[in-house]
Amino acid sequence: MSSEPDEREGSSRRTVMKAAGATLGLAAFAKAVQPLTEFTDTLTREQFLQKHYKELDADEKQAVLARLEAEAKATHGVDVTIADPPPIEGVKFAFAINLSLCNGNGKCVEACHRENNHDRATNQSYIRVLELERGSLDLGSADSSYDHAVPAPGKAYLPVQCQQCDAPPCTDVCPVEATWKEKDGIVVVDYDWCIGCRYCEAACPYHARRFNWTKPEIPAAEINPNQSYLSNRIRPQGVVEKCTFCLHRTREGRLPACLEACPTGARVFGDMNDERSEIRWILANKRVFVLKEELGTKPSFFYFFDR
């Protein structure tokens, strides 16, 4: 008789809709914040509160290195040493590649992959070897996926990695100062400070930076245990990485891994500030060029020819 809703039923159409809406809303919210809960599973309080690399004092740095070593042990089951060698006083590193000798065999690419604990699934490496038409430097038409015998007739080979620029565009664009140039010329990344925005990757004219789309996976037996904070320690997912001239080796006086692996002897490494060094002899005596000189990036990476 009455058009009033039957109160005895307990719920009106409106109430049901409200409840359903609230349930859906809650479910959507839970889904939206789920990455955050996963984040807190792996992120410890110490990690969250860790300062920028440059603000760590000696004790704090030791604590961070010890924690990272313990994490490597827990995650990968491997005893690693994570050191933090400082730049050698008065040393400025530079690299040179003899393009008359490089035959594109790619042993440097593989050596970098193993030395720097790169992700095995992607065969990641800091080095790309470009195959070019002989006499051309048209990087746009270069191919680095060639798999034929080298050197192929009419082709030349150009290994490209971080050029350790003296005017690095990549460090300028970092919104959080997670990447910078060290005193010995090496451009480094604080993987614990990087937010993964990839601005630096876009800014680099040499395509030298890599992004960790997934968590790098490496079989325990293949992990290089000689690691350092700013170079080859196993990177977290979602951060940018790059060639560091193997600073965990070179800051202890050793040669970089790519150089030792080169079967043609095309790679030369040394101290720009030492006038008796191999690199200075090449700069003084060879036809030398840098990549994309017109950009004004001032690379510490040189290419030269025998003739």
């Binding site: 003899n98 699934a121 990641q124 080298v150 101290d271």
Partner: protein, 216 residues
């Protein structure tokens, strides 16, 4: 004549300069003249903790032959080059293995227009000789390479040719360097072609016109 003397002098200077400061390892214990190329510069001479060592070349090959030692039987010995060549008349014009019908037959030879005896010594097949006739032992054979390849000698001396391992900073450790023969076959010295065995699989490395299976 004067020109030749000047060239030889230049070569000699280049060799002396190259080998100074480099230590040759693993010299053959074979008796003979003092090695020409062995410069011994170590920690004491330079004030450096580290030394530079050039890989030793392989020894001259030997051939296993059976020789009658007594009425009761034969024994096997590793014969030197000279053992067989002592019974042969040297032919100064031989330039490839294909011209020989007994031994060295399958040898690949592609080293300029050189004849065998341009480097090998007809009076002692276990050694070599320079253009001026001076004897060179196998252990010092870089001296022989150096007499023609002066530009490479200079590059090698400055670390711009030939691979190395160890320390860039010799005040912190030692370094080993490749010998010419580590990379170059003396009879066909062009560096061999290689096949790349390792390729990164990122999305920028796919062939033009193809898409990566894995977009990482």
């Amino acid at each position: 004549m004067i020109l030749r003397a000047v060239i030889l002098l230049g070569v000699g200077v280049a060799i002396a300069w190259t080998t100074a400061g480099l230590t040759q390892s693993g010299s053959e214990p074979k008796p003979g003249p003092a090695p020409r190329a062995a410069g011994q510069v170590g920690a004491a001479a330079t004030g450096m903790a580290g030394t530079t060592t050039i890989n030793a070349p392989r020894a001259m090959p030997r051939v296993r032959v059976s020789v009658p030692r007594s009425a009761s039987g034969e024994v096997e010995v590793d014969a030197s080059c000279t053992t067989c060549h002592a019974t042969r008349t040297p032919n100064a014009t031989t330039a490839s293995g294909a011209e020989l019908d007994e031994f060295h037959g399958g040898m690949m030879f592609a080293h300029g227009n050189n004849r065998c005896l341009a480097c090998h010594d007809a009076t002692d097949y276990d050694a070599f000789h320079l253009a001026d006739g001076a004897r060179v032992e196998m252990a010092d054979v870089m001296t022989l390479c150096a007499q023609c390849h002066a530009a490479k000698v200079e590059e090698f001396a400055h670390g711009a040719h030939g691979g190395m391992n160890g320390f860039w900073d010799l005040s912190r450790g030692s370094r080993t360097r490749n010998h010419c023969l580590d990379c170059h076959d003396p009879h066909a010295p062009a560096f061999p072609r290689m096949v790349p065995t390792f390729k990164p699989k990122d999305r920028f490395l796919t062939r033009k016109g193809e898409h990566a299976e894995d977009s990482r």
